[in-house]
């Protein structure tokens, strides 16, 4: 397994969001995490990605305990081994498309020339080669999400975490974005964990799990599917 949550619990004040949630994801797998609003699926993603620390339970990445690392080590891991795609892109509006894609490389002290070249390669792969000089505020929703995918993959991450990546897009644009995300991640051998309430998005994954009331139900391991 490349990443695992073992009996992870996490509360917001007195409200439990995750209750002993378990999830194991193999390297190269694409897994959809589904569930109703407020079920805890985004909290699970944030715990797996080391953004939140669980109140109890363990998170493992590539044979290492992630939840016990200090903030600095977890930040470094997020920068070097993980990529992120969120619902609204979360691009930096003051920067150009190319600068946004280069950002994680520059934060990792890659030389600017090299970072520019890598960003250009990824913009080409995401059919955005002509838009490198644009400000991200000038982009359509689908273009912005493709920039976010380029930024997530430019560091060659082991795991890509996507939280409702098509939630703000229409059906056809969302489908195009998902095909690019999954297709390119597979080419790179990256694992993808995508949180979604959209069955069409989940259908792009190898399998889906459902989070309900903070617990993970996996129909392929509980015997619901024979």
């Amino acid at each position: 397994m490349i990443i695992e949550a073992r009996k992870v619990s996490r509360s917001y004040g007195s409200t439990p969001a995750l209750r002993e949630a378990d999830l194991s994801v193999a390297a190269g797998e694409v897994v959809a995490v589904m569930g109703p609003s407020g079920s805890g699926k985004s909290t699970l993603l944030h715990c797996l990605a080391g953004i939140f620390t669980p109140d109890s339970g363990e998170v493992w990445f590539d044979g290492r305990r992630l939840d016990t690392l200090d903030d600095g080590r977890r930040s470094e891991l997020r920068r070097t081994a993980f990529g992120f795609v969120f619902q609204f892109g979360q691009l930096v509006p003051e920067l150009t498309v190319t600068d946004n894609v280069m950002l994680p490389l520059l934060l990792g002290r890659t030389r600017r020339k090299h970072a520019e070249r890598r960003a250009a390669e990824w913009l080409e792969r995401l059919e955005l080669a002509d838009l490198g000089g644009r400000r991200t505020g000038e982009l359509s929703g689908g273009q912005a999400q493709r920039v976010a995918i380029a930024r997530a993959l430019v560091t060659r991450p082991r795991v890509v975490f996507a939280d409702e990546p098509t939630g703000a897009l229409d059906t056809l644009t969302g489908e195009h974005v998902m095909n690019l995300l999954v297709g390119l991640a597979r080419e790179e051998g990256a694992t993808v964990i995508v949180v979604t309430h959209d069955a069409r998005v989940a259908a792009c994954a190898d399998r889906e799990v459902v989070v309900r009331d903070g617990r993970v139900s996996d129909p392929y391991t509980t015997g619901a599917v024979r």
């Binding site: 109703p36 095909n179 069955a199 069409r200 989940a202 259908a203 792009c204 994954a205 889906e208 459902v210 309900r212 139900s217 129909p219 392929y220 509980t222 619901a224 599917v225 024979r226």
Partner: protein, 174 residues
């Protein structure tokens, strides 16, 4: 019901032989269920009997071949059919609903059934996603049609799962 009308529609486009009609039908509407030759010719025979097509024999080296053409009556039938909306089916008596209610009534695992059904629907969604990736535009649009219906079922499954406790009380109280 749609096979005669689909053949009439193809004939309105241009007169055609039975073999070519079958090929066009399979290309656009067959989707892995090709129309048997026997059905093509028996349908054309009925359409000719009812005055909706005419069949003109063409001499040649091989067996006798007929070239079929649509008549004004056939054309009218196509126009009427295309203008009529298909009935919006209410789906009020679904197997899914019946299984859930019976499971609750009998104290069986309704939630487990819904989980299994959900996973089965998702598996079909994945198969159709693959069809869309590798297929033509017509394949993709047909897969989309099926996927939107599966999505509707999946939404119903989720809503029902969330209200299973309340539904159990209703079922057991009545």
């Amino acid at each position: 019901m749609t096979v005669p009308l689909a053949l009439l529609g193809l004939l309105e486009r241009e007169p055609s032989h039975g073999y070519d009609l079958k090929r066009d039908y399979d290309t656009f509407f067959g989707r892995g269920r090709p129309l048997p030759f026997g059905q093509v010719y028996s349908t054309l025979g009925r359409l000719a009997r009812d005055g909706k097509v005419t069949g003109q024999s063409e001499p040649g080296d091989g067996p006798d071949r007929k070239r079929y053409a649509i008549t004004p009556l056939g054309r009218q039938e196509v126009a009427t059919w295309l203008a009529e909306p298909v009935a919006a089916e209410p789906y009020l008596q679904t197997v899914l609903f019946t299984k859930v209610v019976l499971a609750l009534m009998l104290g069986r695992d309704a939630a487990g059934y819904l989980d299994a059904q959900r996973a089965t629907h998702m598996r079909r969604m994945r198969e159709l996603t693959e069809v869309k990736r590798g297929g033509s535009l017509t394949d993709a649009l047909l897969a989309d049609h099926a996927m939107f219906h599966l999505e509707a079922d999946l939404r119903w499954i989720d809503v029902t799962q969330a209200r299973l406790g309340a539904l159990a009380e209703t079922v057991r109280a009545s």
